[in-house]
Symmetry: C2
Subunit: 205 residues, 2 copies
Amino acid sequence: MTAPTLTAFIEFASTYSYLAAMRLEDEAARAGVAIRWRPFLLGPIFKAQGWETSPFNLYPAKGANMWRDMARRCAARSLPLTRPPAFPVHSLLAARATTAVEDDGDRGRASRALFHAAFGEGRDIADAVVVTAALDGAGLDGTALVTRAADTDVKAALRQATEDAISHGVYGAPSFVTDDGELFWGDDRMEDALAWANGTAVRPA
Amino acid sequence: MTAPTLTAFIEFASTYSYLAAMRLEDEAARAGVAIRWRPFLLGPIFKAQGWETSPFNLYPAKGANMWRDMARRCAARSLPLTRPPAFPVHSLLAARATTAVEDDGDRGRASRALFHAAFGEGRDIADAVVVTAALDGAGLDGTALVTRAADTDVKAALRQATEDAISHGVYGAPSFVTDDGELFWGDDRMEDALAWANGTAVRPA
């Protein structure tokens, strides 16, 4: 029998995608669920609803509490947290470079390396040097992936991932979609999403 | 030694305040924390940031997933869920009537009764008959409280609660504020807020 899968839509500009990415494989292994990593872009989704930047910048009280919440959660999970030089992070290159990674396990490793660079170390992942080094550090070929990131088919695959996210009803990141199309939003719903995927969730009537 | 307290800012129009209110006293008792129930109004806060209605109405994908998430969470917690006749619920009367309740334990009971009427039974809590019946059912004097709801000092106290919420950085509901001013947003952060209040939380450096 094939393991159930859970599609994880992650955005490298998203603080809560960082929280989720760093624990996703461990939680999924415990739940017996295989993860499909799908980098996508929230920018076009936010623009379509009239936001030119992150809601955490548009609504300062919400933004202030998000950073405080991140500090608390990272402390509780022993994760480093350093604010990147710009927020939202310009995530296009990271999204394309991870889209270029073909194996899902490798893509997860690449994603964690880039999230760690962006939010653990506060590096600028719009910089090809930073992305290359992070991917090299994850045991992948950073130079080749950064080169692949500029290819038409990789760009198209990333656009398609964003379209797929929209068609599943995604409006924020991280988001999780089960094989039967159930959508869960946020690091806070990872356990629910995995329980739905492996059939142990209580389902509404 | 006095028990630590946690101030719970609740909004009767808020679906996640319903989820939180129904379990708050039990969780707080387990954590050894006393709850101060503070009904407040999100409307003025949303208006100040340019929203004329709930973000769940403004952003349909977010709204659709919120209702689905509510259905899943209510099923998991064996809570009834019936959509109220209008959303957002017109919560002014309920907020004033519970503000008029003086004892915090009674105010919690009154709040649960009104949330149950609004989201468990889908009743219109803008209706004085509904509010009176719900408060009577909670063992309080519904008629007296609905009358008190129209008094100047009660109206002023509710306005003050909303001002206090804003001054603590509140931008959504439910929100929890500890004795030392730490703000937590959402039913999903109730455990964190209680752990902070009773001193068991890991604190950021």
